[in-house]
Symmetry: C2
Subunit: 342 residues, 2 copies
DNA sequence: ATGAAAGCGCTAACAT
DNA sequence: ATGTTAGCGCTTTCAT
């Protein structure tokens, strides 16, 4: 109870050696059931908890997984992507007995400083990097000894392990849906083209049109860069070309599009149909007030988090395995903004 | 470079003992500048990083702070309170060289299991508990040896250290504002009365009316429990009593109130003025679409996180200090829903 | 199946 | 100002 409980003391109380107690705790096979009982008993009675630091030092495993979120302050405030991702990761950590160390880099300076810290020995067993961006100290992490999983395909690191959705297929689904609804002039507002999500969603838009023998009209493609302001502007720029539908590469931008259309006196979906991507607007503070409800491509964000942890654990156990590429499916969520909803 | 870098090896390379290297790293005063230089040099060249596990074991300090968020899954999905809090805590951790271990309990089972884990020796230097609720294993944590800071005054633990806003004063400000705008029949939708935030905001409402010699009309007080559904219902129940203003104890509920008023064919603020609490609707996914923009009482959520860390660090350094009660101010944010905005 | 003993890499008290 | 040394509490061979 007092003066710090240790393996040695538990051993003494149970009449066995420290090594045996250790074996019991770590579920080693070769222990007499009777002895195991006795030791467990003492542990329960005393409320003994092994010292994690000592354990880590001796075993070279800490049970800590790092989640790195670099300089995406705005996104963190803007939508619920990261909260959900964190949820998924946290849950998977809980279930696998790992603990989650969260690093949010707020400035470039912090990123510099902490990157080194994060890599230090005897600290993290592995790393998950979300919101990857490049040319940064972060890249060091990918080259480090530590197992790393990236959330969202990192274009510049083909050999990195990552989990992502099938962005292209999602976009194809969205655009095909608009086509099947009879829309003729389908525009798109693209995301950042230096990110897989932006690039692949744009490609999906093109591929869907091509597959249906529709012409590609460059005037109907505007850059949104995943930013609300640009999406608003972009929507206005689109109007002279009379689109009857717009595929917007993220829900966050799609909300700006809705607003821009409303400001221009156009009705959704009557005048222009809108489909978003992410399904982030579906829940959240202001849900009840979004009008019309947004048709969108849902990403299984929570599952991505869970998968990231599972795969990372595997990578840790299996250090020289080949890189993993985990691709999860998306889902078309039909609401009212596309004109097909109830 | 290879074979694991240790203090010993760095010492050898720099021609000093391991102890000296340790001193340099830990910024001890009594080191010859020249020697310090040389050691730093070697450290930089080799890229040596101290082993955290060994350090923790020897020093009995891990540099890990735990943040516990118990079973508030819904809230985590619903608004940006936790993301902002986490931001603040994370930033303060970065600045003070601590690392943040995040525990989100998704089920009661997890809460049980992990509570024990969280308390184990050699793991966390201190704990921050957000979204406290009672009668749970969590309470053990408050009784543990570990320094703990609670976010939001925990009513059942008067001797706990916590950080919170001045909920009552915020409510007084909100209601006084409505009074000064000439409103006569001011209603309120209260939060959970088993939480300080709910209870104290309700009290502020009462105190403001009393201070202005207004009668208290029980018919104008309905329970919202911080739930959107109840707020919607509550708003409808209020209407027969013809309120000309409603003070809603949270923004999340206030959005339901806006929706209910709209559904009832009432205009805000012309027919009924509305003031919320938290300032969570101000940013977030659907901002551009909230109409009218909500007048509210802003909580400095980010600062609460920062304060929690600062105070916790102090508690860690100063274990037998008396409990801390940190109260931060709120701020009235005037927008359009109260009728005084631009 | 269990015990003895050698570290894990660091900090800190003690010597010099 | 710096070196020597004794742990920190655990895991893990190696004996037995």
């Amino acid at each position: 109870m007092d003066g710090q409980l240790t393996l040695e003391k538990i051993g003494a109380l149970a009449g066995v050696s420290r090594a045996t107690v250790s074996r019991v705790i770590n579920h080693h096979p070769n222990i007499r059931p009777e002895v195991r009982q006795r030791v467990m008993q003492v542990i329960a009675e005393t409320g003994y908890q092994p010292n994690q630091a000592a354990r880590s030092l001796a075993s070279n495993r800490t049970g800590l997984l790092g989640l790195i979120i670099p300089r995406v302050i705005q996104a963190l405030f803007t939508d619920l992507y990261y909260p959900r991702l964190i949820q998924g990761i946290s849950q998977a950590c809980n279930e696998s007995g790992q603990t989650l160390a969260l690093f949010i880099f707020h400035t470039e300076e912090e990123e510099q400083q902490l990157t080194a810290q994060v890599m230090r020995q005897g600290f993290l067993d592995g790393l998950i990097i979300a919101g990857m961006h490049f040319g940064a100290p972060l890249n060091q992490l990918l080259l480090s000894e530590k197992p790393v999983m990236v959330i969202g395909e990192p274009l510049d690191y083909p050999q990195a392990s990552f989990v992502d959705v099938d962005n292209r297929l999602g976009a194809i689904t969205a655009v095909s849906h608009l086509i099947s609804l009879g829309h003729q002039r389908i525009a798109t507002i693209t995301g950042r083209l230096d990110m897989a999500a932006g690039q692949q969603r744009r490609q999906g838009y093109l591929d869907a049109l091509t597959a249906h023998n529709r012409p590609i009209d460059e005037a109907l493609i505007v850059a949104g860069d995943f930013e609300q302001d640009k999406a608003y502007q972009g929507t206005l720029e689109l109007l002279p070309h009379q689109p009857d539908a717009i595929f917007v590469a993220s829900d966050s931008m799609a909300l700006s599009t809705l607003r821009a259309l409303a400001d221009a006196g156009l009705q959704v979906p009557r005048d222009v149909a809108v489909v978003g991507y992410d399904d982030l607007a579906s829940e959240g503070t202001a849900v009840p007030l979004i009008n019309p409800p947004l048709t969108t491509i849902r990403q299984p964000i929570h599952r991505m988090g869970v998968q990231a942890v599972a795969t990372l654990l595997d990578l840790i156990k299996n250090p020289q395995a080949p890189p993993r590429r985990v691709i999860l499916p998306t889902e078309l969520i039909i609401r009212q903004s596309c004109g097909a909803g109830p």
